[in-house]
Every structure is written in structure tokens, then in C-alpha cells.
Amino acid sequence: MDAAPAPDLPDDLLPEPFRRWFAGRGWAPRAHQLELLAKARAGRSALLIAPTGAGKTLAGFLPSLVELSQRARARNSVRPPGVHTLYISPLKALAVDVARNLERPAAEMDLAVRIETRTGDTPASRRQRQRRDPPDILLTTPEQIALLLASGDGEALFGDLRRIVLDELHALAGSKRGDLLSLGLARLRALAPQAQTVGLSATVADPDTLRRWLVPQAREGEMGDVVIAQAGAAPELSMLDSVAHVPWAGHTARHSLKEIYALIAANTTTLVFVNTRMQAELLFQELWHINDANLPIALHHGSLDVSQRRRVEAAMGEGRLKAVVCTSSLDLGIDWGAVDLVVNVGAPKGSSRLMQRIGRANHRLDEPSRAVLVPANRFEVLECRAALEAVRAGAQDSAVIRTGALDVLAQHVLGMACAGPFAADDLYAEVISAEPYAGLVRQDFDDVLDFVATGGYALRAYERFARIRRMKDGRWRVANPEVAQQYRLNVGTIVEASMLKVRLAGAKSRFGGRVLGEVEEYFVETMSPGDTFVFAGEVLEYLAIVDEEVRVARSNAKEPKVPSYAGGKFPLSTFLAARVRALLADPAGWSALPGQVHEWLELQKLRSRLPGREDLLVETFPRGGRYHLVAYPFEGRLAHQTLGMLLTRRLDRAGLHPLGFMANDYALVIYGARDMSLAIQQGRLSLDALFDADMLGDDLEDWLAESALMKRTFRQCAVIGGLIERRFPGREKNARQVTMSTDLVYDVLRRHEPGHVLLRAARADAATGLLDIRRLSDMLTRIRGRIDHVALERVSPLAVPVMLEIGREMVAGGASEALLAEAEDELIREAMDGASDGGNGAGDGWRA
């Protein structure tokens, strides 16, 4: 079923039982499977890049199975007591699934190999047994590795390790979870220098980074080998050319609903991907509204209750579903052979993500995957077009360049102290052998060490409360057993404190109903009792928060009052943004676009100007008694929000009274009470000065002082770094509550020790995370001296989408003081009107 093995490989790579097994199934080993066997024989670590359906996992394990079968045969040798092969996956479900798939060839070839998983769900008795009597192959997750290494059993478990298999490495590298894994790998290599590492990855723009992951970074740029599997058939990709009017804004793709339904009906099993949980909820509802044939269509996203997700996955595995509406929750995961179509609703945001999703259809390599893109608005048509071209060219988003996070390093350092005493020099050498930390300077390492020991403050107040201490021989050890206990409770890089369970209030009482899933805390914060929202496929009424849970009731309302929440929204990738700009700048290519979109761009050209490939188009115009400034950086929503915050501050200082702003992935609009066209014309406002990169200095610092996003970022670093515990007393509901909020810690630390290592970690996160400062910085540098301003009489065609977002998702431009004053004013107005309950829903119906 595949090409013959490459001719230059020795033909004895596969022992006889394996040949028979392949032959018995009518298979031939694939070239990349044999190549990995050859790498193993040569003692080389290697990265396997292969599309889904290429037998990637089996390729990763074949060398292990061969070695283990030969070892079992050599009866006279004593079986080494440790784990032979360690498999690490980003998903525990995947680890369990892979273990199951591995059992089959092992059983059929009668190999005496013990294969076991270890996840958060593994019972304590089995975990203990695994430590006493380790399996040959252990399948697990990065967090479990951290725990095992910190337990002190690392050497006994992994001293004999021969092979490490890292699955979906592209999904782990570049994240904090990846950082944690890389540090664990460094320790594994110290315990077992003989072990080889195999990385399994989808196609990536820069395989060299992943290749460096596989070997210690003793010398700069050292890399594992790479094996590239034969590409599968090219995917069949198209964009849905909807007959209906293409909306100006919004993300629901309602206009294409009938066409999506027809696609579901016409195929065996369809995965319908959307970008946010809210979109998943809405689309799922709408599909059921028109589901006259009662097709089994299910819903899957990360906020739904785990048991519900598992039921959907099981039904999928049994082929009982016609379609699943899902988010990135199904980007990775177990293979479902029956999926024959992927529908991506909304813009794909990045070409790599899109390719990953497309690969979820049809896991047979020799047949093309089929995918249909459904843009939800006009800009998304441009984005889909750019993405289609990128996928056809096989062009990937390049990964964001980042270095290993210091908060993760702090967690690891504490874990290593729990494992046993260490010398700082040795641990530093080990840490910089990990790819993400290869460039870590000694001073940063020492700061982290100091932080772990006593908090790392310039004011040396906590020496006697140290968590790790130096012994006489200079090595570091944990101060007491409670520290190790604390470490175990805090391990991991996923901070879930910001999610709240959603529970249906019972029929008779308000308590004890079914849990529907979880929502982000900040979403709940903007709601008042009585508000309705869509969740778990129904319209729900928000009643109250009870015992840290959101209590809801089913509502008869047809339309939810609270329109959306952004959970799981990804910003447009830099790579795709550049392609969209190029598409806009080249009218010759517009003929490939749907007629309405083509007309829209022609009209923009006529009425205003088109954004240049490298320029920044800025339009100013009056509308509805207000004055608007619209800029088109195409740098994604997060960077635009940060830019909007900073520009608003500057315009405020310039006396132009901005009232607010709104950002989407492509543009941002700032609106205010003063004529900005006039101010520019009279030279009172300079756009070059307004957009000067110096806004990333003091203005940014000022804003960060009160930015809720920054505080959220800090909280995550504080939890991961072990400054505060995951289950922190600040969340108690207790009348005598003396709470501690990380916001307060942030304020105090920022004022008194702005250079503290945790603040540095938080700033590094902000640069690439929620605030996307690095991208903003790159953009400001790019457009310096290239601002193309046009003053208009009225709104331009291109500005309409972002203008329509005003009022849809409010991002307040003003500082919080102005908002407090507004709340007070509202109260006064209310008092004057004689109303007793200001319609905020917080009337007497609620009592805590």
C-alpha cells in the first residue's frame, strides 16, 4: 500500500516476526517506518514529520518493539528493571488510545511487552505498583513526567530508559507546557544519557527548532536527524460561495446555514470547526432549528462537562454521528476513520491550524482530505482566500520565537529540589541543555533559584522562611516535607482557576442540578442575575453564583441577552495577515473573490484608498455626531486591543476626548467627541507621533499598572511559579473572609520591585500572549514613516465591519475612574426618574 523501502536501507531492519505480522495484514512497512528503525540502530535521535494517516505512531514505536522483542528472546540476560520506552502526549486521551493501539501488534506478535498508561486518572495503587515494578513502555503526559521526576524515583524508573517518544511535538513546543516538558527531558537525559528521542510532528514551518528539542543543546544548534514521510494526497479544498448576501460583520455564518446543513446531509461524517465556544453553541442551535431530518448532530468544546465530551467522542468512534460542531478541542486527538469532510466556519486564523483541521478528515493517506471553508463575513472571505492559497502552497505559519518561561523554570527548580539535593552549577548546565532554555543566562537562573528559595526579593526578609536551603556542601535541598507536598499540588502549567462550573438549578431547589460545563470567570463577571446566554446548546438564565459555581435555569428566551463570549478565540496569524494585505493590495487577484466582495473592494478604492502591502491606512471621518479614526494594521485582535488602549490614552492627552474604541482582527476604530480630521489638518495631531513606537515605553507601563489582562497574566505566572497556591484562600466564601488577591500582590510588587523575576515572566507572557505586544512593536516599526492618511466625509466601505462591532463587544477606552463616575451618574439619573431598580437585574430577587 506504500512505496517500497528506500534502497539504501539495510534489509534486516525488521525481524522476521514483524515481517510476518505486516504481511499477515496485507501491509508493507512504509519507508519512514524503516528509516526510523535505521536511525535507532545508528543511535540517532530523529524527528518524524508526517501527515495524519501515515502510520506515524507505529513508526515511533517500531524500534522499541523490535528492541524489546529481541531483549525478551535473550533469555539468559536479566531484564533491566526500569522503563524501556517513555511516550509523552499532550492529551491523556491520546496516551490511552495509543496504548490500546499498541497492545494489538504486541499481542498478535506474541511479544512479551508490558504497556501501561499513567495519567491523572490512574488509580493510586497502580501508580505505586508502577514505581516498584515499571512497565516496559509507559505512556503519559508532561505533568506526570514532572511529578515522577520530582518523586525521587526518577533514577529507578528511568535509569534504563532507551527511547523517548514525543507525540504531537509541534503542539507542545512553543507553549509553557512545552517548556515544562523540555526541562523534564533534560533531566531524563541526565538520568539516561543512552536514551534516544523520537519526535512525531505534523508539517511545520521550521522543523529545526523541533530537531533541537531532541538532543541536548551542549553545542549551539545541535539537532536530531529528520525523517520526512511521503506527503499524502493533496487536500481538496474549497470556499463555500454562498448564494446569500455576505454579511458585513459577525461570526455566525447564518447566511450559509442551509448550505452547511446540506453538506452534513450529503457526507458520512462531518467535523464542523468553529473558532470560539460561543460560535459552536450558536451554530449548533441553528443547525438543530433546521434539522428536519433529525440528523444526529452533536456539540463538542472545551467548556462542556468532561463526561459529555466523552459521550460525544464515543458516539463518534462508533460512527453514530452525522456531524460534530466543535472548536479547537478536536484539533488534536484520536483518529476517527469515518470523518470524510471538514467544514471550517469562520476565518481559519492561521494556515497551520487549518491544515491540522483538514487532516482530521480522512485518515487514509492515499485519498485526499476534503474541506470546505465558510467565511462568516467579508473580511473573512479575504482571509479564507489567503488561507486557501497558503494551504495549496503548503505554507505554514512560522512559530512565534520565544524563550523558555521563567515561571515554569521556577516550578521545575522546586521539583528538582524535591527529587534530591542539587548543585546550582549542575542544574544550570542541565537546564540550558533544553532547547527553550538554551539561551538562558546564569543571572536569570540564579534569580529564579533565589525566587524559589525565599521569594527573590531585594528586601531580604524571608531567609528564615526559605523553601529550599543550601547545605554545608553547597547543594540545595527542600527545607521541609511540606514543600514537596506543596509542589505536588501545584505542578503543571495550565491555570484553571479562572473557570467556573455551570450547574442547572434543581427543579425543586436551587441546588444540586446537573453540571453543564465551565465558563470563563470574566464572562460571568459581566453578567447580572436575570441575563440570558447560550451554553451547552440551550438558552440559560443566569441566577447566581453559589459555592463558586454558576447557577442557571433553562430559559424560554429565543435570543440570549448577552451576545457573545470570546472563549478560545485565536488571533489572525502574522503570516496570514501578510497574505491578506497582499491580496488587498493587488486588484488583479480580486476576480477570484465572490462578486459582492469584489464590488466592496472596488468601492473602497473609489471612495477612499486601499491599505498598501506594507503601509498603514488610517481614515478619519465624522459619523452620528462623533468623530472616528480607523486604522487597518491587520495584526490580530489582541495586538489591536493593546494598540487601541495606548492610542486612546495618547488622544486623551492631546485633548481629543476619545470615548472608546473597538478592535477586530483586521482593523480598529477609535471614536471621540473632537474632530480628528481637523486636528490633523491644523497640525495639532501628528499621526506619525501618535503611532510612534515610543508608546511602548511609559504609556505602556502606565496602562499595565491597571490592565486587567496584565493582572490575569501575572496571576498565571504566580501560580505556575509557585508564589501562590492553586487552591488559594482568596476564593473562600466565608463571612470573616480575609482574602488575598493576586491583583493586590501585583500592585505592591510592581511599585516596590518592578524588576522582580515574576514580573519579568509576566511581561514576557504579555509580549506574546493576551497583549501581543511583540507583534504590535513589529508593526509600529514596519509602518514608521509609512502612514497613509485619508480624511473622508463619511464612513468608508472597508470601515463598515469594524464600525458594526461598536456596541457589540464593548472595550472601554476610558480609565476605570471615568466608569465609576458613570456608574454614579447613572444612579443619580435613576434617582431623579424615581426608579428603584436600575434594570441591572440586581434587585431584591437576589440575596446571597
Binding site: E525, L744, L827
Partner: protein
């Protein structure tokens, strides 16, 4: 878009404050979170929770050790501005019994300096039931002056003219889709519960039953802002999260 962000203050607003009446006595809500009684030249602050950071550090949670400095700096500025004859700390001045001993030299000096120009009264709190040996001043369970009673924990009986702390009231409002949470004074004109002044003192929502039950049905919150307080009726404040 935003989760509620709390803000610790060390800036001292410095406007004249908001006049309120409690049991007929004219008082001023100082924007920095203190209470000013002009007729008595008395400054009242609540729940300083000094050395809370080191209290956590002793339990393996090394919070930044700057909370006492931040709190005392703020207090010193208010004292500087108001020049009180009497300064009353309404209890929980130290986060635990060992707090006074852990207070570092520089902060001790700040405290001593701000006490120099006035008579200091330490009211006992539940965190510091026998307050503050060695810092001077008077220690008391409660203080009665004219129609007003100053104590740490509000009494069970509806206290006419009671000024208390203990609960660290905070109020939350949602304005234009943004949730704001601030420390606040809570009062119904008969009783007044003070906001905590301590940099690490968190808060209890004014809508929580434990606080709401202390007041007549129509109580209000005065939110502590950067330079002034903001008056919001209880029904316009939202329960937490």
C-alpha cells in the same frame, strides 16, 4: 472582556472628602479609605493587616514583603494631610500576633513618626486581640465618644452610631460591560463599616449576607477611587463575580 481587577492604592487622593452623617454626627469619607471626624480632629482607619506578607511567607507562600511599607506609607500621607489629634486603628492592625515583632526597622520608624504628633488608639481585633505592645498609644476593646461607638467587629444589635471594620467591604459595579471592584465604605446612616486600608487586605462583597444584614434595607456603598469616593446604592452593586 475583562475580569474584575482589584487595585491596591498607595496614592493618596487628597481631595476634601465626602461629607456623611452618622447618628447625627458629621463625618468625612477620605478618598484614601480613611474616616475623618472634623469636630474631634480624629482619623480612623481599619484593618491595616500589617505583616500579612510575612505571615504567608511563614507558611511557605512568600508574598512580596512590601505590604507593611505600602500600608504605612499610605497611612503616613493621610496623617500628614489631616494632622489628627487622635488616630484610631480599628483592629486587625497586625495580621497575626507575631506581626508586631516581625515589623522591620524602616517600617517601625515610619509608624513611630506618624504617631508622634497624635494620640494613638489601638482597638483590639480578632487577628490581634491584645494589640501592639511597644509601639505606644492606648489599647482598647472599643471607644465611645458622644453618640458614636468605635469597635472592630460590628455588634449583633443594630448599632446606632457604630463605626466598625472587620469585614473589608468591597463593591462591584458593571459599567459598559466592564466589571470594577473597589474597596468601599458601607453605611445606612446609623452604622458605618470601613474599608480595609492594608495593601494585602482583600474584601467581602457588600451584597454578601454577612454585611447586608448589618444595615437597613437601603444602605449605600462609597467606592474608594483614585482621588475621590463614588456613592452607589446597594442595589446597584452586584454580587461577586
Amino acid at each position: 472582556m475583562h475580569r474584575t481587577a482589584e487595585t491596591a492604592r498607595e496614592t493618596d487622593g487628597g481631595h476634601d472628602g465626602t461629607a456623611v452623617a452618622l447618628a447625627g454626627v458629621a463625618l468625612v469619607l477620605d478618598a484614601a479609605g480613611a474616616l475623618w471626624w472634623p469636630a474631634e480632629r480624629m482619623l480612623i482607619v481599619a484593618d491595616l493587616h500589617l505583616e500579612k506578607g510575612s505571615s504567608f511567607a511563614a507558611r511557605g507562600v512568600p508574598l512580596p514583603p512590601y505590604d507593611s511599607r505600602a500600608t504605612l506609607t499610605l497611612l503616613a500621607r493621610i496623617v500628614e494631610r489631616r494632622r489628627p489629634r487622635t488616630l484610631v486603628a480599628l483592629g486587625d492592625s497586625f495580621h497575626d500576633r507575631g506581626g508586631a515583632d516581625r515589623l522591620a526597622g524602616e517600617e517601625r520608624a515610619t509608624l513611630a513618626a506618624l504617631m508622634r504628633g497624635c494620640e494613638m488608639v489601638w482597638i483590639a481585633g480578632n487577628h490581634d486581640p491584645d494589640p501592639v505592645p511597644g509601639f505606644g498609644g492606648i489599647c482598647a476593646e472599643e471607644l465611645r465618644i458622644g453618640p458614636l461607638t468605635l469597635r472592630h467587629e460590628p455588634a449583633v444589635e443594630p448599632g446606632e452610631g457604630e463605626i466598625a471594620g472587620h469585614f473589608h467591604p468591597v463593591a462591584r459595579v458593571v459599567v459598559r460591560g466592564r466589571s470594577l471592584r473597589r474597596r468601599c465604605f458601607a453605611t445606612d446612616g446609623r452604622r458605618l463599616v470601613m474599608p480595609a486600608l492594608g495593601a494585602y487586605a482583600g474584601g467581602l462583597n457588600v451584597r454578601d449576607a454577612a454585611l447586608a444584614r448589618l444595615f437597613a434595607p437601603a444602605y449605600e456603598a462609597h467606592l474608594v477611587g483614585a482621588a475621590r469616593t463614588y456613592r452607589i446604592a446597594h442595589h446597584a452593586c452586584l454580587p461577586d463575580r
